[in-house]
Symmetry: D3
Subunit: 231 residues, 6 copies
């Protein structure tokens, strides 16, 4: 009965991935832009950092729920990976063990995975950097893990504060990690595109010395809020 | 369009609360017992602590999503409270400001609220202790907040690492906070009851000096796992 | 020359304390009220916690700058204490050592000190609790300190994020610690009084079931900000 | 071969406990006094806090090395407990799970244990408080643990930054936790006694208004270090 | 009246910047050297880190006080920037939101700013790195901010534990961030120069194998302090 | 007497270093491999990070116990360094001051040191990077230290959670820091070699698309543990 209540010990094989065109479209935008385009939603906590400068990825989520100090479910997840997927691993408690290294990366890559997002630790980071296998993690740690206790694969997880459902789009770059629910992937990509077009023009004006105060028409609301200039 | 994507600026008025009998049943068990009965699920992070010794509550969730340093939505939430509810407030980012004090507690109590769970700060804790209004929070802080930016009420939130849907049962005691999805509230209560019955017998044996090694029949699996005794 | 630049190795003997009537007036209000009355200013970080439930104090600051693991300057400060003072000790770096215990408390009390605010650790907390000598600190730690390196007494310090000048009023209660610059102590006390009078009326209305939404006239600004109710 | 190198999977049955008279002698002094008497050594990190006000203990260490999220070894340890022992549990990584609750406390007490020091989480703290079973821990958490991976019992462990060997004396009170190596227990107790005698006299003088500056003859070394008084 | 008490909602337009020659002089030395030359003063907390390797800056401070999750005041600050300035942004509470990105950097640079020091988060770090616009921050985060609540510009702020007045010199390099009060900028630069000259000679001796024990004549004070050599 | 109890104020001159051939052998393997080969032991906490990308070292430990904010003992340690040594510095409390910079690095290198492991802060990191002098530390900080209080050299220390005895082998790379007791250095090197040979073969299979599930024969134990596949 526990299983029914806690979703532990489950592997869901058939998941609905976000539309491939929408994923491709989203892959053209940065994390900050997509997060803004969605109305400031979907971000993971900022402690999630890339293991090397320039790491980035965009793909559909295979979700994993890990037990602390136990990477058994990452091996189970490998079988569910399809080309274009990103593995997103949450843990039942805060844990920084080195759940993932170059062997699992080799396996994930062979299955077509684009990278790993893990609310835990990774190791072999020199090898992973040479492989250019992008990983965003809570920590880097050499500490090994066991294979003793069940978690789950492809259930809804909370990873670094963000809810991730299997098949959602996950985008990561040097600014962090954002999750786009599969159902709004195309809409979010369109909004990101609109936002970015908009930014080029603003950048040009600001570079020419126009102040944001004027460009965004902030002077009146600032005065209304009570801002006082003192000489 | 942002609103559609990010659930900000929304108040859901009609929510389905967990069955009252199930809530009453759950109120008889502790957080650890319920968490175990659900197969070790539903716990918030352990940084959520009661503001006074002995604080405890059990009720149905009114959920709130706050912006940092802004408690506007707690006022909006008050109107949605019905007797037996617990207000569960998440924040879009880690923030320890004093979102809640004795005035809001007075209002919540007048509406029938049983307490507050907030992933943020509270103040007036001496008054709240005198009122015996239970609050579990991330921090205690006198810092005041503004009323300037919209969040939402009665959407799914992630509070201190746990997913909470409006109407879910929330139970809190000195061990922490656990969330029971409304749909399995009765099942969880039954499992908790079974577990507790079970525990009384174990406690008696252990008090009489029986070892857990024998009572749980651990000696064989320990030996199989390789445990060595050295004299 | 360093001394001139860094204010180390200095004890200022003649400081201007806030007006006694203003200090007495401020002692009647809580930290949250005073902080709000000053326009949300002057708070220390919320990691500053009392060593026992119910600890509170209000007095004029004798400031101390400590070196990590060195409590020499607390002995120097004792001589500068006058009845009604509060010792406020900052440290050049984050440090949790037990700088202060029951012997220093005995000495401080004999000089008339009302308590201690220390961005560091304290020990002998059972004795301090029996003495009812209030201390707000970053940590409790038995670790001893040396007397080897100079700091200063009665210079401007940054303690737990707040600037404190000698003679300022320091108020602490279960909600935290707030600093009131000596020059505005009376003004702050008047504002706190006004605010508190105001609160009694609000509390009564809220207890009677009036919603903050109506009492504070929030419905219109919320609607303007785009809040949507969904049934 | 791993076992030989890492001390995992081992239970040492015959340990040499510190001399009982020395333990009794040490039990009369506080943690800060003993730590100072040993020349400022042996303290655990200050994040180790008691689960209830007034908790204290003094006994000989049964040491445990736990795996994260796994309390199997606490059951193994119970069998090794003799009257007057304190169980000291370290974990291979930082972990806050609820390894220990009222059932294990019942078992430990039945064996004669005086309390638990654990660099991890505990639960059932209301029950433990009623039982007055003292626990000092890194966290309070309801999260349950499994019984799947071996650690060890009665090996040297590093618990909250302090090295603990089986049989060492462990003293805990509201100021923290200190470890006294078995071999110097009597010497440490004598030094603590000398120190405390010494303190009574100092306390009296300070209460009478004598300054530490004079009592400890600090004025000359302070002047030599360059302290300047400014009027 | 609040405004008078809390310095919120104020923009000071005429500030006195440190002497340009002194700033240029200071720009030749590292943060550690300047901090030592000032007698070990002026450092921000070490959590302030550069967003790219090699980032460094030296300029006069435009100070900003931000509200959490709100970057309105950075737009206000842009207008006050003059060539050679560094923007120093504090926040009323600990907050890691992405207050600053490539658009504001474009605007700041167009005004002549040399970089940003912010006790909060930044985003667009790949763009900022390409622009070689140096930023030292508490965090990197894509999370967007609003423009709803007033802070201030060019008031005294406490940023990452250091007091900064408008016009002070701020120097940042891979070792951290140091603040030099405008009034002692020349004196500090001279002291830094003297210190550095001094260091070249020491480096040569140490490289040749001379021990610091001998070069600094430490053997006698060490023996006096009681150091014992054991063979 | 204190000295006898706490090991402060001691420099041990004659230490037994691990066998040179074993050290050379260990230097060929990574931290994760050695940690696994020892049965998952010996790791320091993951907050110990290299000051530049690619830093690595392998050598025999000269251990140092520092007092907070005091680097006197690093100068004492320099004299004990022999070619091939690594200095391992612990601190009596958590402290991030800049204990070490380019001058000490010049001295250490002149004595033949291979690098520094320090549970504290370092500075001059740009210079250290140019020198390619590897340092793994808890923090980077420009804050200067004094030379006032004794610690010790070549006693057993707990550094970042790991016990280090003088003469032990310390290996550090981008994955962290591992300590190999001198007495098992050759055994650990052999085990690491065996493990690594083993890995090449696994890597090849995984790259060819074989699943870990099959290669490690996990399907049966997973099924036994209750894993359910859902379509």
């Amino acid at each position: 009965m526990s299983v029914a209540m806690n979703d532990l010990g489950i592997v869901r094989r058939n998941i609905i991935r976000a539309d491939k065109a929408a994923v491709d479209h989203l892959s053209r935008y940065g994390v900050a832009t997509i997060h803004e385009a969605m109305g400031r939603a979907g971000l993971m906590h900022p402690y999630m950092r890339p293991i090397y400068t320039g790491a980035r990825m965009c793909g559909t989520a295979i979700t994993v729920l890990l037990q602390p100090g136990d990477n058994w479910m990452l091996h189970v997840a490998a079988e569910q990976v399809q080309p274009g997927d990103v593995v997103v691993a949450a843990c039942t408690v805060a844990n920084t063990d080195g759940f993932f290294g170059d062997l699992l990366a080799t396996s994930f890559r062979a299955r077509g995975a684009k990278g790993l997002i893990i609310d835990g630790g990774v190791r072999d980071v020199t090898d992973l950097t040479e492989m250019q296998f992008p990983v965003f993690s809570r920590a880097i740690s050499a500490r090994g893990t066991v294979k003793a206790t069940l978690g789950s694969v492809n259930i809804a997880v909370v990873c670094a504060g963000a809810t991730v459902n299997p098949g959602d789009v996950v985008v990561a770059d040097m600014d962090g990690v954002v999750v786009v629910p599969a159902g709004i992937a195309q809409q979010a990509a369109d909004a990101a595109e609109a936002r970015e077009a908009n930014e080029a023009d603003k950048r040009e004006k600001l570079a020419a010395g126009v102040l944001g105060l004027d460009m965004y028409k902030m002077r009146e609301p600032l005065a209304k809020a009570g801002l006082k200039y003192i000489d």
